[in-house]
């Protein structure tokens, strides 16, 4: 290693000195037993083969690399399966009694061996059939009820949910009377047949987490298809 300088230089014709021999061997011994430091390894000298190999977790569909973990699900090429959601209550600008309903097939679970930064991407498709129960809406007719989707992070260690602000996406029941605070404006198809995409980052401590999309529906019926979810956890 470049940081070692021999303390003794033996010369032909000069008798060996016990002190010098002990000094030389001790310096070599001390140097060989010290920690390897950053300057001992020049840039661009190691290869990928030196790095810890990755491992595949088939059950969780995740792969652990040296620097990160990648996990996900994809149903883009599959026959779409839809999860059905219905509203728990319909009120203008509903802010109370909100029930978040997790979207089937959107969830991904990871186990983080150390603290890290996690990026989540998901792609959903949402479809709201027209609400045919006109009389049931307190006589107000088909309305612009919005169905909201957000990212939920479930922490297994303490069984707590965290529904993230800044992740809202929407699809709507229709474009009738203004009954809710958000107006889809466009025709029924454009209001109620939507792709929804998200990219988001959270910092998490060591542990097990499940990431999923969760819906707060206002419609009589809204159908979600979880197209793909990808989670990347970075450690170094």
């Amino acid at each position: 290693m470049s940081s070692y300088t021999p303390p003794v230089n033996y010369v032909d014709g000069t008798p060996l000195n016990q002190t010098q021999v002990i000094q030389a061997e001790k310096s070599l011994n001390d140097f060989a037993n010290q920690q390897i430091i950053d300057t001992d390894i020049p840039d661009q000298t190691l290869s990928g083969y030196n790095l810890q190999g990755g491992s595949l977790d088939i059950i969780r569909n995740s792969y652990s690399f040296l620097t990160c973990l990648v996990a996900g699900q994809s149903q883009i090429d599959d026959i779409p399966s839809q999860s059905y959601h219905t509203s728990t209550t319909k009120n203008n600008n509903q802010s109370a009694s909100i029930e978040w309903q997790d979207i089937s097939g959107s969830g991904v679970t990871i186990t983080m061996p150390q603290n890290g930064e996690v990026i989540i991407h998901y792609y959903l498709h949402a479809y709201t059939p027209d609400n045919s129960v006109v009389a049931g809406n307190e006589g107000l007719g088909n309305g612009k009820w919005n169905n909201e989707v957000r990212l939920k992070v479930f922490t297994h260690s303490n069984n707590t949910d965290s529904i993230k602000s800044g992740t809202s996406t929407f699809c709507f029941e229709g474009t009738g009377g203004a009954l809710d605070s958000k107006d889809p404006d466009a025709g029924d198809v454009q209001a109620s047949y939507r792709s929804q995409m998200l990219t988001f980052r959270v910092n998490l401590t060591r542990g097990q987490y499940t990431f999923m999309a969760t819906a707060n529906p206002h419609s009589e019926a809204v159908l979600y298809t979880a197209k793909s979810t990808m989670v990347e956890a970075f450690y170094v």
Partner: protein, 207 residues
Amino acid sequence: MSKVKGSKLKEGDIPTAADLNEIYTQVSGMDIDDTNTTDNWAHQHHFENVPKRINEIYSLTYTTGSWNTSSTTFLPVFSQTLSCPVTADASDWVLRVSWDALTGGLEVGVDEDLDGLYGFRIKVGFSSGLTTYIAPAVYSFTCRSLKTAYPNLTLNAIQWKSCAGSEAFAVPRGESLSYIELEAAVSNTSNALNVDRINITAVLGRK
């Protein structure tokens, strides 16, 4: 494979100065590289987390109020800039940026053909002043995108729409990264784009 060879002396030999000095000379000239390290020796705990990480992660979430533009010039949404100062080093970098945005209430004056569009793109800025644009996405204000009056449709904007884009980019070697911005513009000043919130995530990987 070891770079420090064993002694060639055997009983009865009279060593020369060169023989005795050899092992010390070998050690002083030794480096650790691919020829004297075994496979799979480096694990996560060997690598530092600060200051120089293998992966640098950046993100921006902005949800305060809403942002409007009727400009045909691309402008940073919410006037927000994601600062990511990273000084160039000997490694090669790959930058991957993903973004999503939620539109709010839009205003449509003209929607025929290319007039009825709005677009987003990511601007990547470097300390040298170099800029590059990646991850574009273009959308139509209404359900009509062609220059036709048929079918007759009410010019209703598609509001509260989810928009997104993503792209990986090989950073020119030697360039120091400075910032990332999500920009937006409309194709006709008679229209107004309203954005309710944005998310940007970026991963800078060293290789």
